[in-house]
């Protein structure tokens, strides 16, 4: 939604959950399911090898290394580790044990000298980094928690004037009293509630 607003000619959304791919397709993105296709190959081809502006919205909870602890990078299996068939992934260099898989894909297809943004959450244990590719491609990184106060007012105006419809990402609206159920649904979204993307409570 933000990329289109900023004037992107085309937007690619990379995921392997059909429901999320479907949602981003509804919002105007072209979708790549990394279980069937190689995102690096497709983006290089679609941008005539010029590369794209990339951001990692996944963070440490990507396939293969989720369920860890945000602060130290250790696997604690408290979350719901996805039961994933690694043999299907389209990219030949896919490494399910690499916690920086998304970043290593991203830096290969990022437009030279561009900013690569990482709003996805990582903890201090995630300290291995493809430094050489970043250096050779002259990339700069912006990451960390979003500076919400900087953009709040501008974004609010965009909503007020109807230029963006933020309600499109809300899949469920419930009463606040049902919050425990909402937590459980959001937590189990991988298994039972396949269509739970974002939940909202109202008083």
């Amino acid at each position: 939604m933000s990329s289109s607003l900023r004037g992107a000619a085309s937007v690619f959304s990379i995921d392997h959950w059909p429901i999320r791919l479907e949602k981003t397709r509804d919002l105007g993105a072209e979708t790549i399911n990394f279980d069937n296709d190689d995102p690096v190959d497709i983006i290089k081809r679609e941008t005539s090898r010029k590369g794209a502006i990339c951001f990692d919205a996944v963070g440490y909870e990507a396939v293969g290394h989720m369920a860890g602890n945000a602060s130290d990078g250790t696997a604690m299996n408290n979350g719901e580790k996805e039961n994933h068939d690694d043999s299907k992934v389209g990219n030949p260099a896919y490494d399910p044990g690499n916690p920086l898989q998304v970043i290593s894909w991203m830096c290969q297809v990022a437009k030279r000298n561009s900013y690569v943004s990482i709003p996805g959450v990582y903890g201090s244990g995630y300290d291995q980094f493809p430094l050489g590719v970043f250096f050779n491609r002259g990339l700069q990184i912006h990451m960390g928690q979003g500076p919400v106060k900087k953009y709040n007012e501008r974004l609010l105006h965009l909503i007020e004037t109807g230029r963006i419809d933020a309600t499109k990402i809300i899949s469920h609206t419930m009463n606040l009293i049902e919050a425990p159920k909402a937590y459980s649904m959001f937590d189990k979204k991988r298994r039972r509630y396949k269509n739970c993307i974002q939940t909202m409570s109202r008083m």
């Binding site: 960390g144 928690q145 919050a179 959001f186 409570s201």
Partner: protein, 105 residues
């Protein structure tokens, strides 16, 4: 008032808690009208965030109406509709003045 309270990993419930009171000269009390459930809330819900204690109230993406303020607060008035950024910040240091408050955490 009703609160969503953490009781341990994957254990949350609605409990009654005392109504908050103004304690500091920059405080405001917001009556929440709607709130979102964020992926980060699941880190707390799973108990993987260090320092989580039973009894803590959850939720950090909300909007509401200003119910009560310290008498000398000027930026908002009682009755204003407000949207709360999730960043925890002091509001006075250089990053905050440049509206990049996540640096102050």
């Amino acid at each position: 008032m009703k609160s969503l309270v953490y009781h341990g990993p994957r254990g949350v419930q609605i409990d009654d808690k005392p109504h908050p009171s103004i304690q500091h000269q920059e405080d405001a009390i917001i009556r929440i009208t709607s709130t979102a459930l964020c992926g980060s809330d699941l880190h707390l819900y799973h108990g993987t965030v260090p320092g989580m204690q039973p009894g803590q109230t959850l939720g950090h993406e909300f909007m509401g109406v200003v119910d009560e303020i310290w008498p000398e607060v000027h930026e908002v008035q009682v009755g204003d509709k407000v949207l709360i950024p999730f960043n925890i910040c002091c509001g006075h240091c250089s990053p905050c003045m440049h509206k990049r408050p996540m640096v102050t955490m």
